[in-house]
């Protein structure tokens, strides 16, 4: 469970103050697959960063898996990120000097698994995304779609509860985007909660729940479309 209550996020630079999120409320239930859409600059990435503990909130409360994250230390936040959250980025963010095996290994090492456990988890994750045979390759030797699949393997290897994806298909052509989307759906079916920011309306529609962020606020887009479930209405309220 992921519960955001009255969250505000204000960026203060020398010249301007940007209210990236305003009185933001959202509940994500376990096992959901949520697609987040919205215009550029509306606060989608900000929302995802806060959900993934990459940024602090200015005010409000955020409960991740039943625990409030307000006031936690860097070490505690890092540990939570490592254990509960998997990240997928638009730019894949594989580490160029590490091969696929070592890339997937990164979060597992921070977790402190021993080498046997890690090897098994890495192989399993790479098998899931269909790249087990290329463990020794460097990211630069792969196509964009393959790189994103490795990134998904890396996000999943530690078996997090939540998968957060910021435009995961934004840099891919439509065929590869489709493959990645299918992979995410498969993962969601196996029980991982997924929150995905996307520009692609078609992909968004495939998610079981759609939300829209406009100007830092949640819009009950789903209801407007008339496709909202009872579940979603409650969440948006």
């Amino acid at each position: 469970m992921l519960v955001m209550s009255d969250i505000n996020k204000v960026y203060q630079t020398e010249l301007v103050q940007t209210h990236a999120l305003r009185d933001f409320n959202l509940t994500v239930k376990e096992g959901e697959f949520i697609a987040v859409t919205g215009p550029s600059g509306s606060g989608k990435t900000t929302f995802l960063n806060i959900a993934g503990l990459l940024e602090n909130i200015s005010s409000g409360d955020y409960q991740l898996d039943g625990q409030s994250i307000v006031g936690l230390s860097d070490k505690e936040l890092s540990r939570l990120r490592n254990e509960k959250i998997g990240f997928i980025f638009q730019g894949f963010n594989l580490i160029p000097d590490l091969n696929l095996f070592e890339n997937v290994d990164v979060p597992l090492r921070y977790r402190g698994f021993n080498s046997k456990e890690r090897k098994q988890k890495i192989e399993h994750a790479l098998e899931l995304v269909g790249l087990a045979s290329r463990m020794k390759h460097l990211p630069s030797q792969l196509s964009g779609g393959q790189q994103q699949r490795v990134a998904i393997a890396r996000a999943l290897a530690g078996e997090p509860k939540f998968l957060l994806a910021d435009e995961p298909t934004g840099n891919l052509d439509s065929l590869m985007a489709k493959q990645v989307m299918e992979l995410l759906e498969k993962i969601n079916k196996q029980g991982t909660t997924i929150v995905m920011v996307t520009h692609d309306a078609e992909l968004a529609r495939r998610a079981e729940r759609n939300i829209q962020i406009v100007d830092g606020q949640l819009c009950d887009f789903t209801m407007y479309q008339g496709g909202a479930t009872a579940n979603e209405q409650e969440a948006i309220a």
């Binding site: 940024e55 860097d74 990120r81 490592n82 980025f89 580490i95 590490l98 990164v106 530690g158």
Partner: protein
């Protein structure tokens, strides 16, 4: 030290970016350890005990320009007058001064026949029979000279019959330890060893003969001659100030050069060494500074280049301490590779110095101390850039494409 192997692998895939800094560290280690060793050798030399009270002995040279002066007699008159001064302990005319850089050396043998003889060079001090007292020498075996053993070396006179030698020379010529009473020979002149003194350095501080010294009871009849005076502690300056006036009043057909203490002569003799050690210390400091700068610069460059990677690692669960540790570990690894190479280079360089500059074999302690120093300096230099890396916001992972 959880992450050694991936850090190492990543580094090896980027060899070109670390090769230069590894070489720099290796060279620094090689040069600094050898330089430190040379400094130590020089400082040891400078701090060696000369066996004489350097600050209490005043020496000077003088030149009798009138050939009518009876020089051996004048030296004895001078000595008597000087020794009447209340602050003077002993004095003698002499052919050379210790640690001064100039003087006489003779070759000596342990037997008359050349064949099968043990030989050694030695610095020869020729002065009055009180010469051991002038230099405050303790005779460890045998005795000092007797006044009747003094020879005035005017033309046709005999050579002295007796000698006092240092333990170092005795060991060289008489390895069995029975030098006392034996004869040593220079060309065909025999001298009986009547006394052995523990230590008295000769004039040349850089020579292997410096510890091998022979004292002879003889006053030379030479126009250019020297004089040595032992004063009470703290009275050297008074003596230096007054000595010319006093002696010129006795006999003015001579030029008396400015006197100085043996300590001052020693400082002059070691000036080159002092300069050398100072220069090497500057080189060490500069090299270490440049290496620190180099690795700090490399780390800053890497941190900036890898901002996105750092953000990604943070997003994947790295704490600030993990990120800082990453860069500290990486630099320690680079230092380690540089050090392995540096140890080899240090030994090669030392070998070269031994061959061409008669330096000694580098003790491993110097390499060890230098490498510990280099690691410390490197980690200190890397600390701030690594700390900066740890403060990079994890949000950069999603904010930069």
């Amino acid at each position: 030290m959880l992450h050694i192997s991936p850090i190492f692998n990543a580094m090896m895939r980027n060899k070109s970016s670390v090769v230069l800094i590894i070489m720099q560290i290796a060279l620094t280690l090689a040069i600094v350890s050898n330089a430190a060793f040379i400094i130590k050798e020089r400082i040891d030399d400078m701090q060696r005990d000369s066996g004489i009270p350097e600050t209490e002995i005043v020496g000077f040279s003088m030149y009798f320009y009138d050939e009518d002066v009876d020089i051996t007699k004048q030296l004895q008159v001078d000595q008597q007058k000087i020794m009447e001064l209340p602050y003077v302990v002993e004095a003698t005319g002499i052919n050379q001064l210790p640690l001064s850089g100039s003087g006489d050396s003779w070759g000596f043998r342990n037997q008359l026949e050349m064949e099968g003889a043990l030989t050694s060079g030695a610095g020869v001090f020729a002065g009055n029979s009180n010469i051991t007292q002038v230099f405050d020498q303790q005779i460890t075996k045998g005795r000092s000279f007797r006044p009747d053993e003094l020879v005035l070396r005017n033309s046709g006179a005999d050579a002295p019959k007796v000698a006092i030698i240092t333990q170092a020379l005795a060991d060289e010529l008489f390895p069995d330890g029975d030098a006392l009473g034996k004869y040593i020979y220079s060309i065909d002149l025999p001298f009986q060893v009547v006394g052995i003194m523990d230590k008295m350095q000769g004039p040349w501080v850089h020579s292997s003969l410096v510890e091998k010294t022979v004292l002879l009871p003889v006053l030379y009849n030479q126009q250019f001659i020297r004089f040595a005076i032992r004063v009470e502690p703290g009275e050297a300056d008074t003596m230096i100030k007054n000595v010319q006036d006093i002696l010129l009043k006795l006999e003015n057909r001579r030029v008396i050069n400015t006197a100085s203490t043996i300590a001052e002569m020693k400082a002059t003799s070691y000036q080159r060494d002092k300069l050398m050690t100072n220069m090497l210390m500057v080189i060490i400091a500069v090299l270490i500074f440049i290496t620190a700068l180099g690795i700090a610069g490399m780390t800053i460059f890497n941190v900036n280049r890898r901002q996105k990677q750092i953000g990604t690692r943070r997003a994947l669960g790295a704490s600030r301490a993990d990120i800082q540790g990453y860069f500290m570990t990486e630099s320690a690894m680079i230092a380690g590779l540089g050090i392995v190479l540096g140890i080899i280079l240090a030994l090669v360089l030392n070998n070269y110095l031994m061959t061409y500059f008669s330096s000694e074999a580098l003790s491993f302690n110097y390499i060890a101390a230098t490498l510990v120093g280099i690691i410390l300096v490197i980690e200190v230099a890397v600390f701030l850039p690594a700390l900066k890396a740890s403060k990079i916001s994890p949000a950069i992972a999603t904010r930069s494409v």
